[in-house]
Symmetry: C2
Subunit: 335 residues, 2 copies
């Protein structure tokens, strides 16, 4: 492997000049710069990142911590982050916290050891792990980590869109299956839904909403739905909004097992728009998170040294209407 020294010799300049050309220092005369660049290609020189990192204390690496890369949403995010990072000459170090705070702390320490340019973490919960105040820029993605600035979807707004949509379809008895309330995401999504529901309810007192708490996963949605759908047709909700696609898919399965057809008898909405959403039967109406924008924004902010990224960034999600929701004739229309 050739080094700066080799390049310098080949070009007939000093190593300092080579270094300057490589770092795009404009003070090098064109003639010299050309010679150096020629030498670089001649020798197929590639800078030694470790040496550079030792001097500058910064590696062209971004650390990424997610709860579980197996979760399609995080996979989507990771893909886009990696792609954007690569575009900017950076590489991504990926780590899974397995939804465990202790592991998360250990992983972060391991990443920090490798002097990354920045750290993007989708925290496993809201407990503020202590992070030694390093000079490494840290960003929260999707879920708040410690008190670091957050880039995420506007969950409350997304849920609000769902509420408005369902009510506009004529549904009067709604159910919301909430995510864990010890997470900011879970709380935001619930709050947004409830708030919007109340706005509509102020105009139409016939509306009803029941809320059930669960986890974000498939199983949780299935269990809650089973209970819910046991009620007689006139009693039970005609529309179920779930806090995640996984939960909504659980609802779909419960409905199917109980012989209740979706969307004819009950409408179902998810949240996230993971790849699953368009594969299930019926295809799931859901709120799409703008993963690509989230990823770009996160990379941009974690890399940008000039701006002080103190504020949170909230990006809007969009309602994706598929086959799991339908208009209903308000059967028991209480006038």
């Amino acid at each position: 492997m050739p080094t700066v020294k080799d390049v310098a010799r080949h070009a007939g300049v000093s190593v300092g000049t080579v270094s300057k050309v490589l770092s795009e220092d404009q003070t090098v005369k064109v003639a010299l710069r050309e010679r150096v660049l020629q030498a670089v290609t001649d020798l197929n020189y590639r800078p030694n990142m470790a040496a550079r990192a030792l001097r500058t204390n910064k590696f062209n690496i971004i650390g990424l911590v997610v709860p579980d890369i197996t979760n399609p949403f995080f996979a989507q995010l990771a893909l886009n982050i990696e792609t954007e990072a690569a575009r900017r000459g950076h590489t991504v170090m990926l780590t899974n916290s397995h939804d465990d705070t202790v592991t998360e702390g250990r992983q972060i320490a391991a990443l920090l050891d490798r002097s990354p340019r920045g750290l993007i973490v989708a925290a496993c919960n809201d407990t503020s792990a202590k992070l030694e105040s390093s000079e490494v820029r840290v960003l929260s993605l999707d879920r708040r980590f410690h008190s670091f600035p957050l880039v995420s979807t506007d969950h409350a707004d997304g849920s609000a869109k769902v509420a408005t949509y369902l009510i506009s379809l004529g549904h009067q008895r709604l159910a919301y299956l909430a995510g864990p309330q010890d997470t900011e995401v879970g709380r935001q999504r619930l709050a947004g839904f409830v708030r919007q529901f109340e706005v509509h309810n102020a105009q139409n007192a016939a509306l009803q909403l029941e809320i059930h708490n669960g986890q974000f996963d498939f199983h949780s949605g299935e269990i809650l739905a089973r209970k819910l759908l046991l009620q007689s047709e006139g009693e039970r909700p005609t529309a179920i909004a779930a806090a995640s696609d996984q939960m909504a898919i659980g609802v779909l399965r419960a409905a199917r097992d109980m012989g209740i057809s979706v969307p004819q008898s009950v409408s179902v909405v998810g949240f996230d728009d993971t790849t699953l959403a368009s594969l299930v039967v019926p295809r799931l109406t859901t709120v799409a998170q703008p993963t690509e924008k989230l990823a770009k924004k996160a990379v941009e902010r974690v890399l940008d040294e000039s701006s002080s990224p103190l504020e949170d960034v909230l990006l809007e999600g969009s309602l994706v209407i598929r086959e799991s929701t339908a208009r209903i004739l308000p059967a028991g229309h209480s006038s």
Copy 2:
């Protein structure tokens, strides 16, 4: 950040001794070692990886290249690789080739620049990209990269299991939806199925097999199945084996759209056992790849410096029987 120098001063020894203790050199006397370790914890010393890498030319990092982390199978693999790597004090640099050879080459170069301990690559196709013969250990995972040793599931054997299983259920008219034949995986899976079919056919000449070529994705499975299932009930296959879960799920959707019930009228089998397989309706019978073992094996081999990992490692997949397959009464039993 404290350095070896600080630790040395604190412990009253030389930096060389500190380094030796840290690298678990046994030649340091217990008394000194204790003092050093005490100093390390006192100062909360963390070695500078960049400096270490500069000297040793090796970072505690494993590079991982996958076609697309969004593919559940690779996500599963990545999770297990990361977990195993972390257990061994290594970190994983993840990169997506987007199924494109040029990008793949660029990504690999970027990873190599960062002096990883080793490289694990799930290639996007069989074309042998040129890789400068570096001292970095390279391993093929799941799909052959260049001519580097491969760790993968025994695809042929897995397909053979499917063939045997379907025939044992009494199916006589089989269809196999093959993956792309310019990939080793695609070819292996097809070959294994055909070979096993022929073994059975030697004993029972009534067996029939039709083969259709496609891609591994959902869409491809759907299209092929639509054509296949257009045939009258007495003509069309009663069992369809697909080269991937995605394809099989496409088949499921086609069958559903055409009012053909699975498994009553046609049995469907996938390959991979991605998370999807147990979420679809009906739950998919498939071949599970031993992702955890694959990951462990890959990490072990890529890190192990002693053994020369020249041979391929093939691990056995297992048939997972769910709800998409059933026994049939041989209707048109040609005696």
